[in-house]
């Protein structure tokens, strides 16, 4: 049972380099919640995970487990379990022996080990494989064994997972995702999951921490990240396709994009044109059937089977829009409507809250 707090953590691998791997951050990881660290390669998520696990000592700041300073303590003393990108199992041992290993090394007595191994194997669906050699299992089963080795220790404070689905066959990924979620609900453990895949992060986590270039951009529930991104990168990174981001002139409750006026859902002060961007998701941007809205030129239509997307041009800007089922497309001209409450204004890439009165 632990609450992990990061106090003023920052890290640089190379002290001579000007770009730190991790910029200064403070964060609290609540006991029993599932978190995901999401971001592109090089954003610092693995570094952050390794600082929490103790494999790296941060250049600055403190790591506190239940308010106890563990920054100087090595991994084995921190009571965490880690699952890596590829399954790490002991080849020479059976599944049961693999699961028993951490307990054996800590001197727990035999009958207690047996009971605990049976419990964890049952939770992970490994009971019928207990006597099989671990190396003969599929990659997905091996990852479950890796996870199991972390779960057998009843004093484990947190489970850290570093892109654990990397080597799993794509058609089987959802099974392991399902298992991970089931484990989380059954054991009520703090779990921190590192990934660059939005589906994994949004499926697994109660709270997703989006990172880029060593900073945390936003930490929120999946729904909130999708509906109200606080940073243009979050809007772009989450959602397929990502948020439309176009330069705009904003004043009052109107924005001008390529000369066209667009009604906003709130009032804003006058914002510097060079750094102001209007953000709206293709999911809330529609081509209108009856010609109402902003005039645009259609560049390309994409039939994705269950929905249709249109790539349209508003002046020099390219925008993605949803084509509703009942809308017919004739020629190159069309009109665009954007849901007002999903229209956001960003200044210097950060969300500006307007006055909604």
């Amino acid at each position: 049972m632990a609450r992990i707090r990061l106090d003023g953590i920052a890290h640089s691998y190379d002290t001579r380099s000007s770009t730190p791997a991790l910029k200064r951050l403070d964060h609290v990881w609540q006991h029993g919640r599932a978190y995901a660290l999401l971001g592109p390669s090089g954003c610092g998520k693995t570094t952050l995970l390794n600082i929490i696990s103790g494999l790296i000592m941060p250049s600055e700041g403190r790591v506190l487990f239940d308010e106890k300073d563990v920054t100087e303590q090595p991994t084995e003393r921190r009571n965490i379990a880690q699952v890596f990108q590829f399954p790490v199992i002991y080849d020479t041992m059976s599944v049961g022996e693999n699961l028993a290993f951490p307990l054996k090394n800590r001197g727990i007595e035999r009958s207690a080990i047996k009971a605990r191994v049976a419990e964890v194997a049952d939770l992970l669906g490994l009971t019928k494989d207990l006597s099989r050699r671990a190396r003969n299992l599929t990659a997905e089963a091996k990852q479950r064994v890796s996870l199991g080795r972390g779960l057998v220790r009843s004093d484990v404070a947190a489970i850290l997972l570093d892109e654990p689905l990397t080597v799993i066959d794509p058609s089987l990924k959802w099974q392991l995702r399902s298992k991970l979620k089931a484990v989380h609900r059954a054991l009520d453990l703090l779990m921190i999951y590192v990934t660059h895949d939005q589906v994994e992060a949004l499926t697994f986590a109660d709270e997703v921490v989006v990172m880029k270039d060593g900073s945390v951009l936003q930490a929120a529930t999946p729904a909130r990240l999708f509906e109200q991104p606080e940073h243009t990168f979050v809007g772009y990174f989450i959602g397929s396709p990502g948020m439309n981001l176009v330069a705009a002139e904003v004043e009052g409750h109107v924005a001008h994009v390529a000369g066209q006026p667009i009604e906003l859902g709130a009032r804003y002060p006058k914002l510097a044109a060079a750094s102001t961007v209007l953000g709206f998701r293709p999911d809330y941007t529609f081509l209108t059937p009856d010609g109402g809205g902003v005039p645009v030129r259609i560049r390309r239509l994409e039939d994705l089977g269950r929905r249709r997307l249109a790539r349209v041009a508003l002046g020099p800007h390219e925008i993605f829009a949803t084509v509703p089922h009942d809308v017919r497309i004739d020629g190159e001209q069309a009109h665009l409507a954007i849901r007002q409450d999903r229209l956001f204004v960003y200044a210097h890439d950060e969300l500006v809250t307007g006055d909604r009165r």
């Binding site: 084995e76 790490v88 951490p102």
Partner: protein
């Protein structure tokens, strides 16, 4: 799997190699086979002897058969002793080498130095080294009160040959095992730390299993080398004292060139070759099986 389009020009480029192999290996080999099935009445007159030499060779009651059996036994025991020392020693040293950083380069070079010395130079070095009067090694041992005399005492001769081989070739074991260890991803060591595994448990459960293929390769290489040993014992002990360190290769030369008994010598060399090839094939098959199991 992939059928490359046929390009016959390539054969021309390979032709010189064929010619070389023909003259340096195949033709001499055929000569040996020839001698092994013939006998001579002297004055270069040969007549067909069939498999007589072979049968005599493999019959321990015959003089030549006994000699062959003894020499073979000496080879096998030597290989065994050398392996038993070199492999664990090599592993132990490889485990202590630094895994990264600036020291790695120089350390590896220093370790590799003994391998770079030519065989007969090694022999000559140790010949002097082991002398009780002027050799550091010999003098040190006699100084300690040990009865050490390479030319007269069989045990001294044997141990010296073993020490020479260990000194000369353990670096190969060290380097190969080291490479094998470096190929183990860090995550395994991290997992072991998280599982609170002791150093020994980490060795037994992670390092040793992952070194399987390298170990088989190492044992294969060392076995072959020790089984075919010639230069070092020849230079240091000459096969003596008596026939204590007369290995198969040395015996062969004695019979062929010393006694000019070409028939038995030829037969012996063929059987020797066959044993070596068979053992090689067994090792290779084990390696392939290990590979196949890994991907099962």
């Amino acid at each position: 799997m992939m059928e490359k389009p046929l390009n016959n020009r390539a054969w021309l480029m390979v032709a010189p190699v064929f010619v070389l192999v023909l003259f340096s290996a195949l033709l001499p080999m055929m000569t040996v086979v020839n001698y092994s099935v013939q006998d001579s009445l002297g004055q270069n007159q040969f007549f067909w002897n069939g498999d007589a030499w072979f049968r005599e060779l493999l019959d321990p009651s015959k003089e030549i058969g006994a000699r062959f059996a003894d020499a073979l036994l000496r080879n096998l025991s030597f290989s065994l002793v050398a392996l038993l020392i070199e492999v664990p020693l090599g592993i132990a040293v490889a485990l202590t080498l630094p895994r990264g950083g600036r020291a790695v380069g120089p350390v590896l070079v220093i370790i590799a130095l003994p391998m770079l010395i030519p065989w007969n130079v090694v022999g000559t070095i140790w010949q002097i080294f082991s002398r009780a009067d002027i050799g550091l090694f010999g003098a040190a041992l006699t100084g300690l009160g040990l009865h050490y005399n390479v030319t007269q005492d069989a045990i001294s001769a044997w141990s010296t040959i073993v020490v020479i081989d260990v000194w000369h070739w353990t670096p190969l074991v060290i380097l190969l095992i080291y490479a094998g260890l470096r190929a183990i991803p860090d995550a395994y060591y991290q997992a072991a730390r998280i599982d609170a595994a002791s150093r020994w448990a980490t060795f037994i459960n992670i390092e040793l299993p992952k070194l399987q293929k390298v170990l088989v390769l190492v044992i294969l290489l060392r076995f072959m080398y020790t089984f075919m040993i010639y230069t070092e014992p020849f230079v240091v002990t000459g096969g003596g004292p008596g026939s204590a360190t007369t290995f198969l290769s040395i015996d062969l030369v004695k019979i062929a060139l010393g006694q000019v008994d070409l028939g038995p010598a030829a037969a012996m060399s063929l059987v020797y070759n066959l044993i070596t090839l068979t053992l090689c094939w067994i090792f290779f098959t084990v390696m392939v099986q290990l590979d196949r199991r890994r991907y099962a």
